[in-house]
């Protein structure tokens, strides 16, 4: 249809078969520019985000400098702010989460990638585990408070009574909302990330490696431990790092179960506080100025932390990809 108009001047342009001209040319140029423009917007969002959060945090950065990182007090009345208890809570709760999520996630990844079960069952299983990621974190928090903590609390009381001599469990009468609970809930939430990425890593390992090990007389688990896990190691590490990145920034469920008390205690059964939780609890009612500044400073620290972890994971994947080529 469009070519009908071109037919008339076919004579003039027959030497230029591959070129486009006139309105079409400008249209095409405009389209290319537009696509580039939107790609630039995407990039700009990230840079704008860093600069906006930085400028929000500026009052607190000027006031406290780097000392904010190891300040222990958080006193809104006297305008004294320090980040250490929050950084501590964020890191420790995420570490607990990784501790639980890595073995369980690997088990799920192995069961759904090895031929333990028929393929159809494996696919369903992998799908169901991934579904956890779709549940809003506020609903997981609600479940944690009303269903999970009542189950967990007697166990934690028993831990506190029996192992009081270990600093990790040295809490009088733990209340259920504490660091350990938050870590376990985080583990549940990052499990799909861990399982799905490790599963992809394991399925990408060439079949020959597995066959070779089995031909040499290795059992299934010997093959897994001596061949599959070592060859997928860096991929699994980056899966754990991406999962860690998610755990560091997770807000709602943690806010609901961690007890929200800004303290640094060796005991995992004591309540704690994380950076996302204090943002969620205080930001809406914070006074403009130093309080908002300090909260934004915390946001900036969290941003930096997750950025470092995620970029590390991505670089690892890239480096391994290059090495394998």
């Amino acid at each position: 249809m469009e070519n009908s108009s071109d037919d008339s001047n076919l004579g003039d342009e027959s030497f230029n078969l591959t070129g486009i001209s006139g309105a079409n040319f400008w249209f095409d140029q405009g389209f290319t520019r537009l696509v580039y423009f939107f790609a630039v917007i995407t990039v700009a969002v990230l840079f704008l985000m860093s600069s906006v959060i930085f400028s929000e945090a500026l009052p607190a950065i000027k006031q406290f400098g780097l000392g904010f990182l190891w300040g222990k007090d958080w006193d809104t009345g006297n305008q004294i702010f320090g980040a250490l208890p929050y950084i501590y809570g964020t890191l420790v709760s995420s570490a607990i989460a990784i501790l639980f999520a890595v073995p369980v996630g690997m088990a799920v990844a192995l069961v759904t990638s090895e031929n333990f079960l028929p393929t159809s069952l494996r696919t369903i299983l992998a799908f169901v585990v991934e579904l956890i990621a779709a549940i809003p974190s506020v609903i997981i928090g609600l479940w944690a408070i009303f269903v999970f903590i009542p189950v967990l609390e007697p166990l934690q009381k028993w831990l506190a009574n029996t192992f009081k001599w270990i600093p990790l469990f040295n809490t009088e009468d733990p209340s259920g909302t504490n660091m350990l609970t938050a870590g376990v809930i985080l583990a549940i939430m990052i499990l799909p990330t861990m399982a799905a990425i490790s599963r992809d890593v394991l399925m990408a390992i060439p079949k020959e490696l597995r066959s070779a090990s089995m031909a040499l007389g290795g059992t299934r688990w010997e093959t897994i431990f001596r061949v599959l896990l070592p060859s997928g190691f860096s991929g699994i590490v980056s899966a754990a790092m991406l999962a860690l990145g998610r755990a560091l920034g997770e807000t709602m469920a943690v806010t609901m179960v961690i007890g929200n008390s800004a303290q640094i205690s060796a005991s995992l059964l004591d309540p704690a506080y994380t950076i996302p939780s204090v943002l969620a609890n205080e930001f809406a009612e914070a006074e403009p100025g130093l309080h908002i500044g300090a909260l934004s400073y915390l946001g900036l620290i969290l941003f930096g932390l997750t950025l470092a972890v995620n970029i590390g994971a991505m670089l690892l994947v890239k480096w391994v990809g290059r090495k394998n080529k």
Binding site: V35, I53, P103, A134, I135, P136, V138, W221, L307, I311
Partner: protein, 293 residues
């Protein structure tokens, strides 16, 4: 003596034939099987328990008039409306940017450095915690308009939806065979014509599921809305005033002493979970089926 040794060899041979693994390796195999399946079962318990508990505790309080009443009258109508409005604002802002950036990544340079930089930035955006996005939206919209609003909430949701849409668009465009692009170009199609009439048109189902996935994620987000859209017990007065949403309703009222409000929280959860799970299950199934093809 030699006969005795002979008979022992026979016995061990028979044992090896019946059970080719030494006891130690056999135990290791069974133990690891048990651990792997035990952990996998453990991983499924929370999901099943969440679905079951939300269903049991939520379904009894579900009444149809809750959809048209505000929170103050023990309904969640204003929260549903707020969630829909903010997701729509998020979609309006993120869909054009997301699709165009996806086109850029898939069609304009699989191998050039600018494209790999944009892809890198997109993956970083995926990993930004949603609460940090809230701090960003607070700085960009709330500080400028001097008030919590649906627009600020929608903006935050747009930032969260953007990388999801970009990555799924890129993925579904890459599934279109290169021969179709070449055929279009051979018939004289310009870049615009090839991209929009051939590639994007063919990939529309994939792009749509990506958008649905982003919508499902945005609808469940609480953290970026707490201090951008805030909350309101009654119907919102407009796009520039505080607006309720389903997730923030759950967070704000979960330890309310009023039994009617705490029932409302469970009822809201079943509605929100039903909404999100149905959208994300359908879109995941569609994506999976396309990959298998």
């Amino acid at each position: 003596m030699s006969g005795y040794i002979q008979s022992e060899t026979d016995e061990s041979l028979v044992a090896e034939l019946c059970s080719p693994l030494p006891t130690k390796r056999l135990i290791f195999t069974y133990a690891m099987n048990a651990i792997a399946f035990g952990f996998t079962g453990l991983a499924l318990i929370p999901l099943l328990s969440i679905l079951w508990e939300i269903f049991i505790r939520g379904i009894s309080g579900l009444k149809s008039e809750m959809f048209v009443k505000a929170v103050i009258d023990n309904g969640f109508g204003n929260a549903i409306l707020g969630t829909i409005i903010m997701v729509i604002i998020g979609a309006i802002l993120s869909i054009p940017t997301g699709i165009m950036t996806g086109i850029f990544l898939a069609e304009f340079g699989q191998s050039n450095t600018i494209a790999s930089f944009v892809r890198f930035i997109t993956s970083i955006l995926t990993g930004v915690p949603s609460i940090v996005v809230g701090v960003f939206a607070y700085g960009v919209i709330v500080l400028v308009t001097k008030g919590f609003s649906a627009i600020a909430g929608g903006f935050a949701l747009a930032v969260i939806m953007l990388p999801v849409i970009i990555l799924t668009t890129e993925e579904s465009l890459k599934l279109i065979p290169a021969s179709q692009r070449l055929a279009s170009a051979a018939l004289g199609g310009t870049r615009f014509q090839t991209t929009f009439r051939i590639v994007v048109t063919t990939a529309i189902p994939g792009i749509t599921t990506g958008i649905l996935l982003a919508v499902a994620r945005a609808a469940g987000e609480t953290a970026p809305l707490i201090f951008t859209a805030l909350f309101s017990l009654d119907w919102s007065e407009g796009l520039l005033s505080p607006t309720a949403s389903l997730p923030v309703l759950i967070f704000n009222l979960y330890n309310d002493p009023d039994p009617e409000k705490s029932q409302l929280v469970w009822t809201t959860s079943i509605v929100l979970l039903g909404l999100i799970l149905s959208v994300s299950i359908i879109s995941r199934l569609v994506i999976r089926q396309r990959r298998i093809k």
